[in-house]
């Protein structure tokens, strides 16, 4: 990104403190979200989300695998984020690895719950086929094509939309004669079960610039931030995960305030996403 002059920095900060940002939004407004589903035909589910100039693609692939012996009744989900060099020249070669791993871990923390698998936004027990032997492995691959700030929110949105577009093939299981036999599994090509995404949370990043908070910061606004708190909120208004970025220390009352702002904004975001997903599915099916 080209550097900002001190005049531009002053303009951004001043605009935020007067509730009129550089693109005309108010502090708690999201940029227009545009959603497409089913763009990767060979994946089980896929979505492309555009948040202003930020453009991300998420794809979900389901493969048969063996469950973790410590959690035999749950499937496995792994999330990988890749920052494409098309988004910024600094991502060429291995330059994007640091940001990719930071985003992958933040998404895992928000969507997948604790080490025991408890409290995951995605219901892992719906992914078992034969307890202890066969389960579905969901590979969530996200690609950042173009970056203009607020990558975490865009990625979480893309994953949520892709999950709502995901169809897990129906399987018929033949258990075999003895309990030690490896069961025969027949994966249907025709029938699919739609994934239940009612519990999948969204992530809202609240960025502190000066004394005010903004939601959905562009990369220019992010360059002026002192710190940012990303909270993952589900449909019932419960907090599912949290990440604080940025070096500046925050008072605990400020953090609680930012979380409640995130919760408030997430309600609007859920309703926007629901209508966008419905429109995108309708467009894909027509």
């Amino acid at each position: 990104m080209v550097g900002l002059s001190s005049g531009e920095k002053h303009f951004i900060r001043g605009g935020i403190s007067q509730d009129l940002r550089s693109d005309g939004r108010q502090r708690l407004d999201y940029r227009p979200i545009s959603v497409e589903v089913g763009i990767i035909p060979q994946a089980n589910g896929s979505a492309r989300v555009r948040l202003g100039a930020t453009d991300v693609i998420a794809s979900i692939k389901a493969e048969l695998g063996k469950p973790n012996p410590l959690q035999p009744d749950k499937g496995k989900v792994s999330i990988f984020v890749d920052c494409s060099p098309t988004a910024a020249p600094k991502f060429e070669g291995r330059g994007g690895e640091e940001l990719s791993s930071e985003l992958s871990v933040a998404l895992q923390r928000c969507l997948l719950g604790g080490k025991s698998g408890a409290g995951a936004g995605i219901d892992l027990s719906s992914l078992t086929i034969v307890e202890g032997k066969i389960c579905w492995d969901l590979y969530v691959d996200a690609l950042v094509v173009s970056s203009d700030g607020n990558l975490l929110d865009a990625l979480a949105t893309a994953i949520k939309v892709a999950l709502s577009n995901t169809g897990i093939p129906k399987v018929t299981v033949d258990l075999g004669t003895s309990p030690d036999d490896q069961p025969e599994v027949d994966v249907s090509e025709e029938e699919f079960l739609q994934f239940d995404t009612s519990a999948v949370p969204v992530i809202v990043t609240v960025t502190k610039v000066g004394r005010h908070y903004v939601v959905d910061a562009t990369s220019e606004e992010e360059s002026q931030m002192s710190s940012a708190v990303s909270a993952s909120v589900n449909r019932h208004g419960q907090i599912c995960g949290m990440t604080k970025r940025g070096g500046a220390g925050l008072d605990s009352s400020v953090i609680l305030d930012m979380i409640s702002v995130a919760k408030h904004v997430s309600e609007h975001l859920f309703s926007v996403l629901d209508s966008e997903i419905a429109a995108a599915e309708a467009a894909a099916n027509s």
């Binding site: 990104m1 990767i40 035909p41 060979q42 994946a43 896929s46 100039a53 453009d55 693609i57 794809s59 692939k61 493969e63 990988f80 890749d82 494409s84 060099p85 098309t86 988004a87 910024a88 020249p89 060429e92 070669g93 291995r94 690895e97 590979y139 691959d141 690609l143 094509v145 173009s146 970056s147 203009d148």
Partner: protein
Amino acid sequence: MEFVNPLTGFRLDGRRPNEMRHIRGEIGVVANADGSAMFEMGNTKVIAAVYGPREVQNKSQQLSNQALVQCEYSMANFSTGDRMRRPKGDRRSTEISLVIRQSLEASVLTHLMPRSQIDIFVQVLQADGGTRSACINAATMALADAGIPMCDLVTSCSAGYLCTTPLLDLNYVEDSAGGPDVTVGLLAKMDKVTLLQMDAKLPMDIFENVMQLAIEGCKAVAQYIHEVLLENTKQLESRRGK
């Protein structure tokens, strides 16, 4: 396997032997880049972004009399049918990056931009055969979108030879059949070949036919790209209010 039906002459996806897949190109898909384009050839879909001319990042590589052109090719994890975790910098990616760079460098007027760097990044979203051709075509459009001076459009297309028939624009199934695969990169108006690669073996006279078929494909792509760029320029002109 019957790649060309002996009765009807159709290929596995219903095309005739000298028919290309449906192509689609779009400019300006990555807002942050100086120039960008998305190019589809059938189910193969790639995005190219160009950053430059800009200051050279690594001063030891700076060239005093011309621009430095660098290219990176990467495939998304979900681009192929089987999901595969791709390490950055594996040999195939490095080779294709080199191939794209060399084909495009032949056309970019690098002497007009000394001591600068032009970065071309290509990202494959869906791979169904002919990825390097789609990448070169997308990169040409992205360079045009960035306003980088070029002497000609570089376009690329592949052709093969299966069931004693030359086939234009192989998809993944036809490519993995084990027959020869000739990829040609062409400077369209000047009618000069900048890239020529082939694997497997072909008798010389058949090779000439197959290469000629690929060159025809390149010219058809160039025609299409020319129309897209012209349409884009007309829109820019109307937005300027002239």
